[in-house]
Point group: D3
Chain length 327, copies 6
C-alpha cells in the first residue's frame, strides 16, 4: 500500500556523451525521466512507500522504463501496458557557457497521451495513501490525460489525501490560453502548489512585491494553502546558486542558498518537490523548504533525471558538512 | 550530376552494445540506414556518382542523417528538410543462436511519410542520370510516398533511365493485398527486379520449378527483364552461407556461395542490389551476380547498415583471395 | 504474495571487457548473479510471482544488488540488510578455445555467510506459496546458512510446498565429505533434484547405465521423485550443444539438442532450473525438460548471469523457429 | 561553385579520454583538424558554400579526413589524393590547472608537405568565388607549400577575391627569420590579417600603444586593410574570458567579453576567423568582431577542433540569451 | 639498488565513471593506490631509483597491482606474493558540490594484513639506500604489519637512512587510543614527519599558535627534525586552493598557494610527500615545500591515485608558467 | 642479469573497436607490439629473465612503450631513448570472412630506424645470458639496424650464446633481393631458424618433399641446426587450425593441431618462437614444438600483440584439458 501516489508520463532520454553535438552522435546514453516519476523516486529514496501511476507501451522500451522504475524502489503495480501508442522519447544535448543545454521532445502519440478516462480505479489506488502529486505536464499531454487528472483529483479529495500540483508550464506542449483553461479547474483541488514566479505571472497574471503577496493571490484565487518556488542564479552552465522559498497564510520560509557544481541539471525541480512533500509530511514548512533545497542541490550532482540520493547525504547537506572526501 | 539516383527514407538505428537486451540498455549505438540509401552508398563506394532523394526533418536528427550521407560520398543535394514530421527510428537487438536478431520500428508519422506528390522536380533530378532505383518500402510508407514513387518512375521512363525495384516486402508496413495493389502498377516500369522467391510467391503467387521459371513469369506478367534473388542458409546467427542468382530471358547466372562470419546482418540485401546495378552498368548479368554476392558477403562483415566497402576488397573477394592478414 | 520462493546468496560479478586478462583490466563490467537468484529471475520473466530470500550488506554494493533484483521483477521484500559482513564478489575472465573461461571468488566473510539460524520467519514467507527452491551452494557457505536451509526446508514441508534442490557442487567451497554430510539430510525434503551425472557419482557414488537407473537410485536412497540433468558438448568455448534430460518413477524425457552461440555461459544451469520448475508447475515432465532446455539455450545468448528472456522467445525456441531477423 | 575557398593541411588528432596521460593511454579519441579546414567548417555551418583545398594520402586515414570534411558540408572536390607522403597526426593531452593542455605533432613528411607548385588549377578553383583564406601554417610546411600559397594568392588577386591570412606563427614549424622571410611577400596580397599582438611584435617588431596603432603599422608596412586579434584571459584551464578586436583605417571595434566553460580549446582562433569573414562578407567590422567572438566562444564548448555550431546559437550568443535549458 | 624504499599496502580502486552512483554502476574503472606506493611513484617519476616493499596475493588481482607498479618504473623486486589473504579493494564515488566524494574500503583480511614479522630481509633491502618512507596506515592494518614496520625502522636506523613517516590517520582502520599507542614508539625513529594539524591535535594533543610552535612540540616530544603539512581550502569539490608548509628547528617555509582544477583528488598528500622527500634529498626545506606543493597540485589534475607527473611540468608549475596550450 | 636477450623495434598499434573501418574510426585502441618484444614477453611470462634491446623516441609515445614493456616484466634497462626519429605506428582493421584483417604501417623514420652501429655495448648486455633472438624485421628497417644486428650476432657468438632468427619476411619493408643479400650473412650465426615454408622458397629457393628435406637444405647452405615452422589452416578469419613442426639433423617433431577461436591473430608467430625457445632451453625439440604450438594457440585468444599467458594455462593446453569454466 503506497503512502504517496504520483501520476504522469515517463520518457526515455537519449543524450550523446557530454558536449558532443546530437547531430554527430555515435552513441546515446539512456536514462529515463518524467516529472512525477522523478518526484516519486526522490520520495522513495527518502524512505516513503510511493506508487507511480502511468501508461507504458507493451514494447521493450516500455519494459525498460518499468524495470528502472522498480530498480529505484518505486512501486509500478498500477502501471498499465498498452498495445496502443509509442514510447515517449526526448533528446538532450549538454551545453557549456555560453551555449545552454538543449532538449528536443519526441513524445507525440505516446501510449500515455492516448489514455482515455475511466481506465484507472483511483479509489483502489488511493487506499491507505496520504498524498497525491501530479504536475501540469500530465494534463497537457492530451484531453484524455487531462480528463484522467480530473478523475484522480476527485478521487483523491474523496479519499482525503493531501494534493500537490507542480505547474511546470511547457510552452512546447500547449499555449498559455489552453494551459490556463485546463489548469484553472484543477488547481482548486490542491493544498500545495509548486509554481515559479515566471509561470504565475505568465499563465495567471499573478505577481507581487514579495513572495508572500504572490502566495496570497494563489490562496485567494484558487484556495491553495502553500506555494513553493525555486530561486536560481545561472551565470554559467555548470555552476549555479539556488534556494527554495515557500509561503502559506501564516509564514514564509526560505532555505539557505546552495552553490552547486552541476553534473546534470534535469529533474532538479522534481527532486525539490520530493523534498518539500517529505518535509510537509514529516515536519513543517521550514523543514519543507530545507529538504526541498537540499534535494534540488543534490540532484544537480547526479547523472540522469532521477534523484538517486540517500537520506544521510540529504542530512549532511542540510547540516552544511564540509566537502572533504568521506572515507 | 548523378549517374544513379535512389529514392527512399533513412532512419536512425539505435542498438544496445552487442547482445545486451534493449530493455536493459544503458547506451545505444547510433547508425543510419534505409534500403535505398544503403544501395546508394554501395554504389558510391564503387566509384559511381550517386544522389539519394529523400525528406528529412529539420531537426538535429535529420541533420545527423544528412551529415552521415555526405560522409559516405553520396550526394544529398536533393534531400528536402521539412518542418513537418518526425525522424524515423528503429531499435535493434542482436541475437545469437537460438535467439534471432530482432528489430522494432518507430517510424510512424515521419517527415518522409508526410511527403505529398509534386514536391520533387524529378526531371531536373534525373538530368544526366542513367539509373533509378527504389524499393517497395518507399511506396509502403504512405499514399503520399506511393504517389511520389509513381511520379519518379514516370519521369525516369521519360528520361530513359534504367529502373530497378527491390520488392522488399515488410509485413509490419502493409498487408499482402495493399502491397499487391500498390506495387502492381509500379513494377511494369522496371527493367530489373530484386525479389526473393518467398515474396514472389506470397505477394503475386509466382512460383516455379526453377529460378528461370520464376523469372519468366515476372517477365510475362510485368514485363521485367532481369530478376535477381539472394539465397541464404542460416543455421546460426553469426555464420551464414549465401549466393546470388539472376535470370533474364536469355540466361541464368549464379554466383559462388560465400561463407560469412557475420558482424552485422542489416543492409546485406541492399548492398547486393548495389553490386548488381554496378555489374549491369559496367558488364553483364554474370558480373552482376558476382558483384552482388561479393557486396552482400562483405556487408555482413561491416558494422551498421551502410556497406563501407572498397573496390579492392570487392575484387579480392571475387577472386577468392585467402584470408591471411593483409600487411 | 509469492508463488515461488528461492533462497541463496547473490554476488557482484566483475569482468574485464571480453577477452582482456584480469591482470590487465582498466575497467570491469558489473553484473550480479547467484544460483537461486538466477533461477528466480527466470521464473519471474516467465510470469510467476517470485520472492528471493537473502542477506545483503548495508552498503552501496548491497543496494546495487537489491536494485537490480527489483529491476528484474523479483520480489526483494524478504531480503535482510546486515551491518555485518562483506558483499560477495567474483571476478570473471572470458576465454576462447583452447583457453577456457575462468572465475575467482572473493566471497569469504560475506553478509550471507554470517547468517545465523532463526533470522527468517519462514512460515510467513511461505504463505500462499507453492514451490521452494534452493541450491547446494547455500548450505556450503557456512554452518549458519546450512542451518537456515534446514529451517527453510522444514517450514516448506509444513506449508506443503514442492521443494527442489540443485546440487551444484563447488569444490572451491567445500570438500566431498563435508558436502555429502551436509547435503544428505537435506535431500530427503526435496521432490525435485537437479544433479549432474558427475556430481551424483562424485558425491554419492550414484552411477548407472542409463539416466533412468540414476534417477532410480536417487529415489531409493533419498526419496527424490524427479531428477534432472543437463547434457553438454563443449568442443569450443563459444559454441556448445546441449540438451536436458529428466526422469521420475514413470518416465524419462529428453529435450531436443540445441546448438548455441555463446554470449555468456554463466547461469545457464540456473536458467534451466527455472524452465523445469515452470514446466512442472504448469505441465508435466516433458514440458519441464523442453522449457528447461530452451531457457538454458537462450541464457547462453544473454550477457550476465541473469536470464533476461521473454516468454515469446522461449516459445519460439521450443517451436524451432528459424533464425532470420525478426522485423 | 564555392563562395569561399581555404587552403591548408588537415591532420588526425589523437587524444586520450580526458585527463589521462598520453603515456598511459589505452584508447585514443579521433578527431580531425587543421587551421584552414576549421575556418571552412565554421563558414559552412553559417550557410556559406565553402571549398577546402588540400592534399591527403591515398590511405584509410586520408579517406577518414575527407569523409569527415564532407560530413561537415565543406566541399572536398579539389582535394588531391597522393600516393606520396604520410597522414599528418597530432597527439593531444588535456590538462587542468596548474597543468596546461599539451600537444605533440607527428606531421613530418606528410602528403601535403610534399606538395610541389603547379598541381592545383587555381583559376578554375576560384571561379565564382568571393574570398580566399589561408594561414601562416601552410607556407611553413615546406618550400612546396610556400610556393603553392604564392600561386594561390596571385590567382586570387587575378580573380579579384578578398584575401585573408591568419599569421598563426608556430615555433615548432619554423623559426622567426624563416617565417618573416616567407611571410613578408605574402602579406601584401591580403586585405584582412589575423595577427595576435604577440606574433606581430615577435615576427615583425610591430607594437603600439593601442590596437589602432598596431593596425596602422600593418597598413603602412604591408598594405593590409583590416587587422583582427583575439584577447584572452586564462587564469584556469577550463575557464577563460575572451573578446575580439578589429581595426581598419577608419574604425576600431571590440566585441563583448565572453566567459567560457571550456570543453575543447583547440580551433577557437580558426572559428573566430570564420565569424569575422562571415561578418565582413555580410556586414561590417562591427558585425565581424561580434561574430568572431561568438564563434570563438561557442567553439570552446564543442569537442574536437571543428566548430560544429548552428546559426541560431550564434545569434543567441550575440544577443546574450540566458543560460537556462532550451526546451 | 634503490635509493629510496617505501613500505605499505596497495589496493585496487574501483569507481563508476564520474558522478554515477556506486549502486547504479554498470562498469567500474580500475586504478591502484596505496599511500606509500603513491609516494614511491612520485619519486620514481622525478628520476629516483625507488623500491616498494609489500605483500600481494598470488592471484590475478595481485599480479595486476605488480604489473602496474612496474609500469610506473618503481622496483617491485621485494614484493612477496602470498597464498594467504585477499586483495584489498576500495570503492570510490565521485561527488560534486554539495555532495562530497566518498569511498568504502574492502580491505579486511588482505595478504598484507596477514603479514607476520620476520618475512623481509630489511638489511638486504636497504643496501645502498638513503631514505625509508612509511605511513601510519601500514601499522594500522594489523599487529603483524605494525611489527614489520618496527623491524623496518630499526633496520633503517642501522643502515643510517633518513626516515620519514606520514601519520595519515584513518578512523576507519583504528581508533585514537590504538593509533597513539602503536605510533608513539615508531615516531622517534623518524627525522621527517608528515602530519596534518588536525591529526596532530586529535592523536597527540599537539596544537599551537603557529606551525613553528607545532613543529617544536613534535621535536620536543618525539625528536622529529622536520614537520610538514598541507593547507587546503575546499569550498567546492572540483576547485580547491592548497599550499604546503614545513618547519624544522631553524626555519619555517611555506609554498605558494595553487588554485587547482581537480580531476582526481586521491593521492595528493602522498604526491606531496614525494615532492618533499625529493626536495630534501636534493636541496633544502624551501625546495621541499615547493616541490611538495607542486606535486600535490599536479596530482589533482591526473586520473587515479598515482602521480604520473613529469619533471618538466613540476618545474613549469614551480616557475608559474602560464596555462596556454603547449604546442 | 638477463638469461635471454632480444633485439628489435616496437610500435604502437592503433585499431578501431572490432570491425569498424579505420576510415570511420572515432576512437582507436592502443596496444604495443614488435616481433622480438612479443617473443620476449612470452618468455618472461614463462618465468625467464628477459631483456629487450631497442631504441625509442624521447616522447610520451616512447615512454608509453617502455611503460608497457616493464608492465609485462621484460627488462627495459638497455632501451635507448633518442631525440631523433619518430615513434613507429601501425594501424589495424579487423576483418571477418570473407574480408581479411588488414594493417598499415606508419613506421618510416622511426627512432629505431635511425640507429647507427656502435651504440650498444653488446658484450655487457650479453653478460650472463644464454640466448639471443632477433627477427628478419630488424635488419630490414635500415642499413643502421642491419649493421647493429651483425654487431649483436658477432658479440653473441663471442659470448657463446645460442642464437635464433625468425625470418619474418615483410614485403612492405624490402624486396626479395635486398632481403636475401642482407639476411644471407646473418643466418650462419644462428643455431635455430624460424622460417615458413613459403619464405624459405621465396627468398632462398629452398623447397622439399618434406619438412626434413627443407631443414636439411637450411643446414647444408647456412649451417642452421634446428628449423621451425607453423602450419595453419585458415578457412575463416575467426577460426583457424594450427600446429608447429620442427626438425634438426636427427629428428622431426610435430605438435598436435589446435582448433583456435581467434580473439587477436597478431603476434602468434612470435609467441610460438617464445614457446620453442623455452622448450629448447628446458627440454628438447619435442617439448619445443609442444610449447611453441600451445603458446601460438593461446596467443590467438588474447587481445593485443603481446602473449599475456600464464604457465598453468600453457600446461593445461598441452595436456588438452577440457573447455569447461574454471571455477
Amino acid at each position: 500500500m503506497a503512502e504517496i501516489v504520483t501520476f504522469g508520463e515517463a520518457m526515455i532520454r537519449l543524450s550523446p556523451p557530454r558536449f558532443q553535438r546530437l547531430e554527430q552522435a555515435r552513441c546515446l546514453e539512456v536514462e529515463i525521466g518524467g516529472a512525477e516519476l522523478n518526484t516519486a523516486v526522490g520520495l522513495a529514496r527518502l524512505g516513503h512507500a510511493v506508487a507511480w501511476v502511468s501508461v507504458l507501451p507493451a514494447h521493450p522500451l516500455g519494459r525498460l522504463i518499468a524495470n528502472r522504475v522498480r530498480e529505484t524502489g518505486v512501486d509500478d503495480r498500477w502501471v498499465r501496458f498498452s498495445q496502443q501508442g509509442r514510447c515517449g522519447l526526448y533528446f538532450l544535448e549538454f551545453g557549456a557557457a555560453p551555449r545552454p543545454t538543449a532538449l528536443w521532445y519526441d513524445r507525440q502519440d505516446s501510449a500515455m497521451a492516448r489514455l482515455t478516462p475511466g481506465q484507472f480505479d483511483w479509489d483502489r489506488i488511493f487506499e491507505g495513501a496520504r498524498w497525491f502529486h501530479v504536475s501540469g505536464i500530465t494534463p497537457a499531454l492530451s484531453d484524455g490525460t487531462a480528463g484522467a487528472v480530473m478523475e484522480a483529483l476527485q478521487a483523491a479529495r474523496r479519499a482525503q489525501l493531501t494534493i500537490s500540483l507542480d505547474l511546470n508550464y511547457r510552452a512546447r506542449l500547449w499555449d498559455r490560453d489552453k494551459a490556463r483553461q485546463v489548469l484553472s479547474p484543477l488547481i482548486p483541488y490542491c493544498q500545495v502548489l509548486f509554481a515559479s514566479e515566471a509561470d504565475a505571472e505568465y499563465l495567471f497574471g499573478i505577481q507581487g512585491e514579495s513572495f508572500v503577496d504572490i502566495a496570497a493571490q494563489w490562496r485567494q484565487r484558487f484556495g491553495v494553502f502553500t506555494v513553493i518556488a525555486t530561486r536560481r542564479e545561472s551565470e554559467l552552465v555548470w555552476r549555479n546558486r539556488l534556494a527554495v522559498i515557500g509561503a502559506n497564510a501564516e509564514q514564509v520560509e526560505e532555505s539557505p542558498w546552495y552553490e552547486v557544481e552541476i553534473v546534470d541539471r534535469l529533474g532538479a525541480g522534481d527532486a525539490m518537490a520530493a523534498g518539500v512533500i517529505h518535509g510537509l509530511l514529516t515536519g513543517d514548512l521550514q523543514k519543507a523548504v530545507q529538504y526541498g533545497a537540499a534535494l534540488a542541490a543534490l540532484k544537480h550532482t547526479i547523472a540522469g533525471d532521477l534523484p538517486w540520493i540517500n537520506p544521510e547525504e540529504v542530512e549532511a547537506t542540510i547540516r552544511g558538512d564540509n566537502l572533504n572526501i568521506r572515507r
